[in-house]
Point group: C2
DNA sequence: TGTCTATGTCCAATATATCGTACATATGAT
DNA sequence: ATCATATGTACGATATATTGGACATAGACA
């Protein structure tokens, strides 16, 4: 019930899909698990999971860790991820930009992207405040819950947006229902304005700012965000937006471009 | 003829294994390739490669990039790799240690690990010299070609070492043959001494220093290395070794330990 | 024009991967 | 002692994934 793997009932799952379901599951659990536990929690046949886990262990994609036969993501994944990061060399500039933003505003600055059909924080820099606001990086969050979400799906048509976002993700953490048409209207508005800001819907004390970061072809590849206390956000709105836009413009110079190509 | 996937002839390859063969191949090529090219270069059936590439694209493991239908490693791999890095939180301390080492010695400092049955540079910090010595990170190199290699296989028995290292890797870049027994003797010597140094066999002007970094269970998880011009290396041998050992001791305090567990 | 290579799609045959089930063991509760 | 649960292994049946080859298209070249 986590990923997109159901389709019709009574069908066999493909090994590759299940394998990556296991990897994603471990990623979100953020801890080593026994094959048995994995099978139970993702609702897959135990024998299949044992088979796949052994295959992945042999390939270095999973590793034994934590004892008792528990497994977690393996070193090979680190190497592959590093190769991706090296190819699309956004990290270095991104880090510098976030640091600059956080210094300038004293607020928490984030770089966010889509992970499949969810939103995720890729990099974060906490602001210089006595009480700092931070989030877990790498966690998947429903797109409609976030300011960035309004920008990250802007390249899709209305219908594509509805197909792309799982319907249950329009149910907000407050258990309120966000009408998809309302969301789409906000997407179009954000697209035209070039930014989106609102009082966060995942809590009651933060205000969020998001501006788009575009890739070579002009598509929105990610967003730069500020997460601030509500009063600060409202008080400094214009200045913060200006900072964000300038930072994004810098990033757009040399964004997700390949180093060698 | 690249990975370990042949076994007997006439057998079908398992999708999962081939998939990771494709990923590793792209990683080492360090560029986007067409499915057709991938198939030709790894010697796999074209139809299989197209099928697998499409599956991997759907999962975000591969991405279209570079145009003309070329594919490269995808964002999902970055997320998975980041989760690994987060779990085994060696990166931050490692980076600081390397910086310190490079400052102290003005030489190039590296952190190296095994990638399957090859050696690879995980992190590197270039020294402060007019002519700096550097290497590609993430590239696979035969274990016997490197100083670190003597330490990274020290936990294996003689026979296990022979089984682990592909025989052709004892053929040095100079086309000389390194007798496996000689290599093993060097491994045992390095193990006892707690370091290994030599004039590099991959070029004619560098001297290499390597000391082990151990994980919680005392196994060698990686190495810290210095790569220096030969004369500097010989002249400062004792000091450099002392720096390395001190740095490794620092890393061993909080090495590849899980943050939450 | 005809021929070659490079590229991608489609399809049927069969080798095999997935999955249900049974089995083995340990641990803890009743 | 008996039962229930958690964990890992073994194996056969069958749904299907892998594969070779046919087919289509486009460009290069002579």
């Amino acid at each position: 019930m986590d990923a997109v793997q159901d389709e019709a009932a009574g069908k066999r799952a493909r090994g590759l899909d299940r394998a990556f379901e296991i990897l994603d599951f471990l990623r979100h659990k953020r801890q080593a698990l026994k094959p048995n536990e994995i099978a139970a929690q993702i609702g897959a046949p135990r024998s299949s999971v044992y088979e796949l886990v052994n295959l992945l262990l042999r390939n270095g994609i999973l590793e034994f860790t934590g004892g008792e036969g528990r497994v977690y993501l393996g070193r090979k994944l680190y190497f592959l991820g590093a190769a991706y990061e090296n190819h699309f060399d956004f990290t270095r500039e991104c880090e510098a930009t976030l640091e600059h933003l956080a210094d300038e505003t004293r607020e928490t600055a984030q770089f966010c992207m889509l992970d499949g059909n969810k939103y995720t924080v890729v990099r974060m820099r906490e602001g210089a405040r006595p009480f700092r606001i931070s989030t877990d990086i790498g966690q998947s969050v429903p797109i409609p819950w976030t300011a960035s979400g309004r920008l990250l799906v802007a390249h899709l048509s209305d219908q594509e947006i509805l197909n792309f976002i799982p319907p249950e993700d329009f149910r907000l953490p407050s258990s309120e229902w966000l009408e998809p048409q309302t969301f789409i209207a906000e997407v179009r508005h954000a697209e035209r304005e070039g930014f989106f800001t609102f009082n966060s819907i995942v809590d009651s004390f933060t205000h969020c700012f998001a501006v788009p970061v575009r890739d070579d072809e002009g598509h929105i590849a990610g967003t730069l965000c500020l997460v601030t206390p509500r009063d600060d956000g409202l008080a400094n709105r214009d200045r913060y937006l200006a900072c964000l836009k300038k930072a994004a413009a810098d990033l757009n110079q040399t964004p997700t471009r390949q180093k060698r190509a």
